[in-house]
């Protein structure tokens, strides 16, 4: 009898230990109110390797610097969103950086990911950028064109890239393989963007848009844009290809930060929005799109406090350096200025399409329409 009791007790203790261990939600809540020193102390109590995964290659530099700063053994993995979701189920990851906001909402609702906003930056960051998930940075994909030859596609209106004469000259990554590209196109079918596109059409053609079978101007633009597009498998390759001397007349819609690579012939490229800002015009109604990179703590994290410490670090000027040292990355922390020579986040927010995860989730069926025109 006594044996049985002690066995039961041991079992209870073990269960308690497990549930306490598993209760990352409570840790995250407690961590939200902690100062830097408190977080650090708690993180130092945790043991084992600290594992982070992110849909950005720069996470390796950030993790390395973090490890050196605090003496915490850190492993970083550069994975695509879907890989991260997949691995959340099977392996331990303590912190994630994810792009596709639409999927993220479902994972937050399902209790697989938790949002953590460090007390140190809570007041500084706009409310919109910390709920439902903290945004670490914005990344922009812009219309960038080759400026060689006689037929430079210096666009001032996005309808210009739908001109049949531009067929094959527009380069983009296949939206069916990269969700942020898909999200951008889905956003265009919203009433707000469709209206702006219809206005832009009128400004371009001088007459009202005729929709035909399309539900709104957004659908029409998507169909005609994709008909002109050639897909290339990565944004790095798009940047390199569009910048070639042999690529006159080509325009791409790709990540601005790819211009940092010296394998890209940057002198041959013009960023549409840079030109617009310098010469005082606007590209109607947008010059590209922008999407956030979110930072989150997985429910299965084994080192939640270290994860929170890392997120706090990433939100600081020091932690943003791996991205901020180049153009094309914008911290959601207003005290961190963009790279010199780049434009400010306010200009980008005014000129780019920004994804709204809720709208995208409510309009999943639009993806079929887009997929059709990717064939």
């Amino acid at each position: 009898m006594r044996k049985l009791l002690s066995l039961l007790l041991a079992l209870c203790l073990m269960l308690c230990a497990v549930s306490a261990f598993a209760d990352v939600a409570a840790d995250v809540e407690a961590g939200s109110a902690m100062s830097h020193d408190e977080l650090l102390a708690k993180a130092k109590e945790e043991t084992g390797k600290f594992v982070v995964a992110g849909n950005t290659s720069r996470i390796a530099d950030a993790a390395e610097a973090f490890a050196a700063l605090y003496g915490i053994e850190t492993e970083s993995n550069n994975m695509k969103d879907q890989e991260i979701y997949e691995k959340l189920e099977s392996t331990t990851i303590d912190m994630v950086m994810i792009q596709d906001g639409a999927n993220l909402l479902d994972y937050i609702d399902a209790g697989k990911l938790y949002n953590f906003v460090p007390a140190a930056v809570k007041d500084a960051i706009p409310e919109n950028d910390q709920q439902p998930a903290l945004i670490h940075q914005f990344i922009n994909k812009l219309f960038i064109y080759n400026n060689k030859g006689d037929s430079v596609p210096a666009i001032k209106n996005v309808w210009e890239v739908t001109d049949p004469a531009m067929k094959g000259n527009v380069i983009f990554k296949n939206p069916t393989t990269e969700k942020v590209n898909m999200n951008f196109l889905v956003m265009l079918t919203s009433d707000a963007w469709a209206e702006k596109l219809a206005e832009a059409y009128k400004a371009w053609k001088g007459e009202d848009i005729e929709l035909g079978e399309y539900k709104n101007a957004g659908y029409k633009w998507i169909a005609e844009f994709l008909a002109n597009v050639t897909f290339i498998k990565s944004d790095t390759t798009i940047a390199e290809e569009v910048s070639q001397d042999t690529a006159a007349g080509k325009i791409g819609l790709f990540v601005l930060s790819k211009l940092r690579s010296s394998s890209v012939l940057t002198d041959n490229l013009t960023v549409a929005q840079y030109d617009a800002t310098a010469n005082g015009y606007t590209v109607a109604p947008f010059s590209g799109f922008m999407y956030p990179m979110y930072v989150m703590v997985p429910a299965a994290a084994k080192r939640p406090y270290t994860a929170m410490l890392f997120i706090e670090y990433l939100m600081s000027e020091e932690g943003f350096k791996p991205w901020g040292k180049n153009i094309g990355a914008y911290s959601s922390n207003p005290s961190i200025a963009p790279k010199e020579g780049d434009l400010g986040l306010d200009i980008w927010k005014a000129n780019l399409v920004i994804e709204d995860p809720n709208y995208i989730l409510d309009h999943i069926d639009v993806e079929d329409f887009i997929t059709l025109y990717c064939q």
Partner: protein, 600 residues
Amino acid sequence: MNISRMKGKVRAWFSKPANVILLVFLILLTVLTLYPLITMLLETVTVHLGREARLAKLPVGSKTLFHFARLFATSENKYSWITFYQPLLNTLAVSVSASAIAILFGGTVAFLVTRTNLKYKKFVSAVFTFPYIMPSWTLALFWETFFKNVMIGPKTSNGIMASVFGIYMPEWFVYGGFPIALVLGLHYAPFAYILIGGILRNMDANLEEAATILKTSRMRIIRKITLPIVRPAMLSTFLLVFASSMSAYSVPVFLGSPVRYYVLSTTMKSLMDSYKGQAYIVVAVMILFGVGILLLNQAVTNSRKQFTTVTGKSGQISKINLGKANRPIALLLVLILLLVAVVPLITFALESVIIKAGDYSLSNMTLDFWIGKDTTQWLDQGDSTGILLNPKVWSALGNSLGLAVTCSVVAGTCGILVGYGVSKRRGSKLASWVNNLSFFPYLMPSLAFGAIYLAMASGIPWLGGFLLMALAGSIKYLPFASRSGVNAMLQLSAEIEEAALITGVPWWKRMIRVIFPIQKSSFLSGYLLPMVSCMRELSLFVLIVPTSNWLLTTMLMQYSEKGWAQFGNAINLLIIIVVLIVNFTVNKLTGASIDKGVGG
């Protein structure tokens, strides 16, 4: 009385190692192929978290036939047509053409090498297996970098053909169904070469001699005697290449995507991201094709008659004298082989040292992507050191080698045991079940096989990482080993083992001391083929690898998708060099070779 007799019978049955082996493998293979299959089928009716649940408007985890209706019968936006039927048709077209190309090319070369006095035979037969040893995307990558030009595809830059020779190939030649089929056909041509060549080499000369005596013309002999004899081998090749081509993933990605040419494997991969249920249905369809092929193969070859091509009385076959045509044919062949097997390596070396794409001048070259300490000055992303100084690359190389060795040891040993069991109990139902089960994994497309292991592992917390990959690899490559195991055992006369049996030598000692040494080179071939295949495997592991940086091949795929061309090319070259070194070291040390493994 009766019971004790029964007991005695059972005991006698179990006292034979062959019976025990077969029983163990029957259970093991059933569990490891059928169980994952069932979990996978369950996934096709389950609602998964994310876009899938939103679209189906059903709670996560509930059971539904929604995915089937969506994939097979959604006419809105032509969804089913573009996600399933069109890719299916493309897959069939590509696989059939690839098989035809493999047979035509491999068979012709096999005929020239075995039945004529062709020059440079040694070189031809040594280099011919190269394309199979190299990863299949090698040729695809080469094809694109070599032939791309500003008239086609994204129309932005020129490859070597256009920039150096000024020749602009048309789009159908560079991208789409034609190059995919051609590249796969060339990659699998060694199958045809080995299978058909094996029969031609060992064919009974009497048949042809009789015809010669009756003054039959050469062409007529080939048409009426040689072709009918190799027909079963041609069919086997056709089916093997068909099954392999159907699951090929990287080749269609490289050569199809730029012109929006999709096949089942590529749509399956992209469905896997957001619509798992439908992705698993595509997997099921691919497996159905595999099963169909197995049944067809059995029906046509009439329960694997291919063992009977070697007779005891095969005399020296007279070789056809190619005469004046000899040198031109030989040179053409050497040229093709150089183009397929050697030029790609040079291209990779070149592409891994240039800084700006398309500029092949010396000033645009650097060894930094191999040995540089800071590559960010050239390509400011990816890794900051050359691959040979990058610890990630070395650890991936270690993992790849470790996995390959593990898979080859497990698969190779199991193959010998299966071979022993099947040959000792030949003709029994049990033996034929085990034989078929051990061959079945071959017909499951690699990507599909990886997918069902992924589905199975998601319910078993301790099954993951290395263990999962080693398990998947060992089972997937078992057919190579079991085939060479069965064939080697069938050649062994029973009295060899009986002699040892009479003197009371225990079973394990008979295996190690008697049987293994005699058929050493055949058995070792059974180890070599899984090892080589595993080293260059991508499709099988792409879904179950812990992180992309874990294996060299998945790392390469990631780099290539990200567009870090120089690193990608360097790693690709590294993989090929390692595989070639492994292959030739094993070959020189033990006499084992790929030909024996595949051909049997």
